[in-house]
Structure formats: structure tokens, C-alpha cells
Subunit: 322 residues, 2 copies
């Protein structure tokens, strides 16, 4: 346990590494594997399919895991929270929306409240909600996010937290896929990292094997932040949030041409749905971040955690002043 931080203390974990609750990808098996390796696994509650959640909590087989929600979607079916809290999660993570209506129930259930934020204003809101852990997410992250970049955003959130709520743990997310990213985050003053894309390309993730192979093969230039994949799925995300996905034929055709996509929506929705069913990733999106450029192999989740810690130790030893 080379790194003890507010995060490891608060969650009672060995290593300051969280699994991002990626919708459809971070299932119970992956979450359990990350927790078993000394981090904390978060099941992806996503848009809130009750059956999926129940199945994945079952798949975690009683492991100590948490769960993450898309807050604006949870607000439309708040009864899901009680179902998840009944599973006694170690933590509940809320992203993309106002956490305050859910904060009291989460803390009353004994779960740590994790709030992911993309702006300074959201960080203030999270602190006001009583968050135990604030995740400062940069735009290089895979999936949904906003505009700030991890490297300058994380210290800004740290400064805010130290001033307003010194005990709150601040975690870096976005663009982190190895021990160098963990070392850099700790050097910024963060209490740990949240990794998504790196764990997408793990053996235990529910991601399609062809999507994992694409992540392994690609360089970091091959992603883009876009609203096209929400438009074509008829998901009404708040305007400030876009999704980072791997470039493919669909994104190349429609990114920047969203009004035309809306005009062609009916047929494009059918085409997109078929592509999802066939796992045709020339059309269906692979949600992944810029860190794809740092990922060279699909690995077991345990090995990802072990390597990340060892690399971070080596990186910080190398960088130490003389």
C-alpha cells in the first residue's frame, strides 16, 4: 500500500484507483475484480435499467463495490436509488446533474457519496451536497464529459476543496491509463484516479471484444467529443455534455452536421440500432477516451491495478528532486 490518501482512508481501500461506472461496460464481474485488486469497482448504472443493475450486482457475488448513475436520468426514475442502496454499496457516484436531491439518502445508507464534476460551479455544488469524494473529470475522458482539461482542472478543484471542505478527497479523471497518469495526478495533489477506458480494455469488462481490440490498436488522435451519438439514440443530454467516442464512419459523416442528422433521424436511428445489435463499430460508437493511445493490451483488471501502482512508484522515484 504505497499510497495512502484521503481516498484510500475514506473508502478503506488499498490503492487509490476507482473503476469508472461505464454504462453497459462496467458490470459486476469487472467491479468485483477491481475491488479484489485493492481499488474500488463501480458498477455502471447508466441510464438506469433495473434488470441490468440487479443482474450486475448479482454478478459481483457479494464483493464490496459501488454504483454510478447519470444523475439527470436517475432524477426521472428516482426509485432506482433505493434498489441500489438495498445492495449496501460501498459508494454511490453521481455524474451529470444536481446531486443534492439524492445526497441525504445515500449518506443515510452508509455509502460514500462520490460526485463527478466538470466545472468549478459543479464542484461547489458537490461540496454543498456533502460529497465525500469529488471527481474532477477532464474532457479527454471517454464517454460523457464537458470542456475543461484534466491537468489544469484538477488543481483548480483541489484549491476549492481545500478552502471549503479540507477533508474531501479529490480524484482525477480523464486521460489516465497507466502509472504515469496516477503519478502525475498525485503530484498535482489529487487523492487518486478514476480510470474508464483502461478498464474497458480489461478481460472482465462487458465491452465487446472487437471494441477492446480497436482500443488497443488505436492512437490517441482517433477519438472525438461529439453529440451525434446522443442525437441518434434520442437521448436528451444537457447541451454542455458531449461524448468522447472513437472516430468511425458514422461520426465522420455526421459530426458537425447535427441539424442534417436530426432531419434524417428516423432512418439513422434504425441503422444505428441495427449496428449496435451486430456490434458493427463502423456505425455504433465505442465510448473511449484519449488514453486509448497508451493502451497496448487487454489485461486482467488485477494486472491493470498492480501495474499502475508499480509504474506510479517508479515514475515518482524517477521524478524526485535530487
Amino acid at each position: 500500500m504505497p499510497f495512502r490518501t484521503r481516498l484510500t482512508e475514506r473508502l478503506g481501500i488499498a490503492h487509490p484507483i476507482l473503476l469508472a461506472p461505464m454504462a453497459f461496460v462496467a458490470g459486476g464481474r469487472l467491479a468485483a475484480a477491481v475491488s479484489a485488486a485493492g481499488g474500488l469497482g463501480l458498477i455502471g448504472g447508466g441510464y438506469g435499467e433495473a434488470a441490468w443493475l440487479e443482474r450486475e450486482f448479482d454478478a459481483a457475488e457479494g464483493a464490496r463495490v459501488g454504483c454510478g448513475f447519470i444523475t439527470w436520468s436517475l432524477a426521472r426514475q428516482p426509485q432506482l436509488l433505493a434498489r441500489v442502496l438495498a445492495r449496501k454499496p460501498a459508494a454511490v457516484m453521481l455524474s451529470f446533474g444536481d446531486p443534492r436531491p439524492f445526497a441525504a439518502d445515500i449518506r443515510k445508507a452508509g455509502a460514500a457519496l462520490i460526485c463527478q464534476v466538470q466545472t468549478r460551479g459543479q464542484a461547489l455544488e458537490a461540496i454543498e451536497a456533502g460529497a465525500d469524494i469529488v471527481i474532477a473529470q477532464g474532457a479527454e475522458a471517454g464517454g460523457h464529459g464537458a470542456a475543461r482539461a484534466t491537468l489544469p482542472f484538477v488543481p483548480a478543484v483541489i484549491d476549492l476543496a481545500r478552502e471549503r471542505a479540507p477533508g474531501v478527497a479529490v480524484v482525477a479523471a480523464g486521460g489516465i491509463a497507466d502509472g504515469r497518469g496516477l503519478a502525475a495526478s498525485l503530484a498535482l495533489g489529487a487523492d487518486g484516479v478514476l480510470m474508464g477506458t483502461r478498464f474497458f480494455a480489461s478481460e472482465e469488462s462487458r465491452g465487446d471484444p472487437r471494441a477492446k481490440a480497436m482500443i488497443v490498436a488505436a492512437s490517441g488522435e482517433e477519438t472525438v467529443r461529439t453529440s451525434t451519438v446522443d442525437v441518434v439514440r434520442a437521448l436528451d443530454w444537457p447541451e454542455m455534455f458531449t461524448a468522447r467516442v472513437m472516430r468511425n464512419d458514422f461520426v465522420d459523416a455526421w459530426h458537425g452536421a447535427e441539424p442534417r442528422l436530426r432531419a434524417a433521424l428516423e432512418s439513422e436511428m434504425r441503422r444505428y440500432q441495427t449496428a449496435i445489435e451486430k456490434a458493427d463499430f463502423s456505425i455504433a460508437a465505442v465510448f473511449a477516451g484519449e488514453a486509448i493511445g497508451l493502451i497496448e493490451r487487454v489485461l486482467p483488471a488485477r494486472e491493470i491495478v498492480v501495474r499502475t501502482i508499480a509504474e506510479a512508484e517508479a515514475a515518482l522515484a524517477r521524478a524526485a528532486p535530487r
Copy 2:
């Protein structure tokens, strides 16, 4: 001299800190102050005004400094390079274009060749050109840049350099304004940092005092990457490069409405030019990066360097594994 890296060795400097050659802002006085503090100052050659360059080299009063060019602009008036090389600069930095036509002359003159890159492909080109130093610039940087974020881009360039040209120094740029940013960059494996916005808000910079005050007052959300400021100045930047500037009335009015701006160009150009002359920053752009959120005071350049080094030492000591 707590940090010895390929960068300090190659340039013969005490601290791994470079001044970004900000057009119109990084003049000779600022460059000399950064060099005197132990880093290396680079005069902003910008679009290549010979008289400005001569005056600023004079203002450096014989200090050991370098100079940076916008490569595609230099290619239109290549004779400027000889004038600068006659000043015996310690280094010449090329950004935004193919460095290969200029590399031989720069190295023959005994100057270090610094290439700033925004993609993996450009990094390969820089290595092929024989760059001594490759700067991996993230999109959070102020002024011109592209799409990759610093945190995941820097290690990707490092991996490439270690494989193809192990002696090349790799420097992080974009989003770095204090010692935490330097510490994080060193933890990623970088050999140092290039800082622009932080030195814009220095006493010696040629930036307007009102612009410096805006940088000090703003939070990191108040910048945007846009092409509007190039459109209105009739600068034909290659499409992949946009400029990060502080949001103001002009940018809020035209960002995302570039075709309409082009249609109204004649009157908007006049209005913009007048605003520059009056230092009216509700219209004229302040070129600055996301790191504005970390800058709280205008400081002498020497103090910026001294603080950055001391903070980085403390940050790395704090982050060290137990």
C-alpha cells in the same frame, strides 16, 4: 538545481522551464528575465515582423535567449530566419508547420532545434527533422493549438521519442502554471515544461496590464478554443489549429457562427482593429489558456520560476510513495 533532465543538459540551464514565445507578449525583456532566473526565455517571433524582432532582441540586452516562429508564416518570409540566427540564439522553436526546411540552418548555427507538436504524426516529423527538443502541446494551452490534451498526449510522445530518438528531450505544454504542473509533467516522464499564460501575467511581459488583470481575475472555464479571432484578422491558419482565448463579447457573438462572421467580415475587421488599438478586450482577444484559473497575481518572471521550482519539489515530496 533540483531537477536535471535532458532539457537542462541540452540547453545548459538550471531549471527545466521554458518561456512560450507568445506573439506580441514574449518580448526581449521577459525572455531575458526568464533566462536570468535559470530557465530559457524565447522571444515570440510570431508572424514575423522584422522590426519587432530586432527591437526585442535589442531589449534582451545580450542575454542568452531563443526565439520562436509560427512555421507556416516563416515559410512565407524565410529570410527572417537568417536575421534571427545572426543574433546567436540559444534555441529556435518552430510550431505549426513542417520544420524540416529550416532544421539544417538552425543546427548549423549552433542553436538547439525545438519543435512544438500537437499530434503523433507531427512528433514523428519533428524527430525526423532532428529536433533536440520536442514540445508536446495540449489543447488547454493558450493561443494556437489543436485537439489533444496534455495529460494523455505527453506520455504518448515520450513513448515515441524513447523508441525512435532516446536522446530527445520531451517537454509538456498546455495547462501548466505552477509547480504542481511541473511536478505532474516530470511524473509523466517529461523533461520539463513550457509556460505561456503564467508568464503573460508577469511584470516583464508586453501584455496589456488590463489583459493581465483579466487573467488574474478569471476562472479556468472562461476560455474557449475558436477560429473566430483568426477569421477576423484575415489570418489563414491551417484548419486543424484554433486559438484558445478568453471569452468576451466578440467570441460569444461569433463562435460557432463563423460563416456569418465571414459574411460580415469587412465591418467586423474594422471594429476588431479599433478594439486592438484601444485595448478594448470586450472585442479584442486575450490569448490565454485554461491555466488562468491557477493564476492569482502578476509576478516578476524570476519569482514565477523560483516558486514553480519550489512548489514542484514540495509536490513531489508529498506525492512520494511511503
